[in-house]
């Protein structure tokens, strides 16, 4: 029995089944020793895009994080 690996996906809207499958397949391909458990989180504060969290690793491709980076750069330039 393979150990469970929790993958959290945060987005502003619920994922479609094909999107969810794509993620699971990709994770299974990468983490072959684990069984992937997908958890979907709908959070409007991310505005758009998606954020994937696997253990301590996080891949943030949300509109919010991009805006936040822009915000920080703007403040630093002032």
């Amino acid at each position: 029995m393979k150990p469970m690996l929790k993958v959290t996906v945060t987005s502003a809207v619920e994922l479609t089944s094909s999107q969810a499958k794509k993620i699971v397949d990709a994770m299974e391909k990468k983490y072959t020793e684990n069984t992937i458990e997908l958890k979907q989180v709908v959070d409007h504060s991310v505005i758009a895009g998606v954020k994937i969290t696997v253990g301590s690793q996080e891949i943030d491709a949300t509109a919010y994080s991009k805006l936040e980076k822009l915000h920080v750069q703007l403040k630093q330039s002032l």
Binding site: S11, A12, V13, L15, T16, Q19, K22, I23, A26, M27, K30, H44, I47, A48, G49, V50, I52, I59, A61, A63, Y64, L67, E68, L70, H71, L74, K75, L78
Partner: protein
């Protein structure tokens, strides 16, 4: 009328005696008295003159002292006035210097405050832009657009996994 020589002689002798007695008893003492009186008067006059002279001398000394005092007073007053004037100018110069320093300090402080306020305003503006952008982006994307965006991001993420 018979002129009796003895009678004349007797009268002459009588007269001489009286004259001699009068000279000795009256004339000389009276003369002495007059002399003494004249002497006293002269002495008194001398003393009066000496007193007048002394008085004049004292008066002159008094006037001289008065003049000296006036001069000294004028000198002291002038010195005091000059000192006061000098002190007033020093105080004025010091006050001007302090006012200038205070003004410079205030201007510097104002410039610093102005810069800080400007920076704060710009940062507030950046925050506002961020908030508005987030709202606008959020509102402008419908579910279909959101899904399309998720697909696009997933393609990139999963490719680089």
């Amino acid at each position: 009328m018979d002129i009796q020589i003895t009678q004349i002689l007797f009268q002459a002798i009588n007269f001489s005696v009286v004259l001699g007695a009068l000279t000795f008893l009256l004339y000389k003492p009276v003369l002495k008295m007059f002399d003494e009186r004249s002497q006293k008067i002269a002495e008194g006059q001398k003393a009066a003159e000496a007193a007048v002279t002394e008085k004049n001398e004292l008066e002159q000394t008094r006037k001289k002292m008065e003049n000296d005092l006036k001069k000294e007073r004028a000198t002291v007053l002038k010195e005091a006035q000059d000192e006061a004037k000098e002190k007033a100018q020093e105080i004025l110069a010091q006050a001007r210097k302090e006012a200038k320093a205070e003004k410079s300090k205030l201007l510097d402080s104002w410039d610093t405050e102005k810069a800080a306020l400007l920076k704060e305003a710009k940062q507030d503006m950046a925050d506002a832009v961020m908030a508005v952008s987030a709202k606008v982006i959020g509102k402008s994307l419908d579910v279909k657009a959101q899904q399309k965006l998720i697909d696009s991001e997933l393609e990139t993420i999963l490719k680089n996994l």
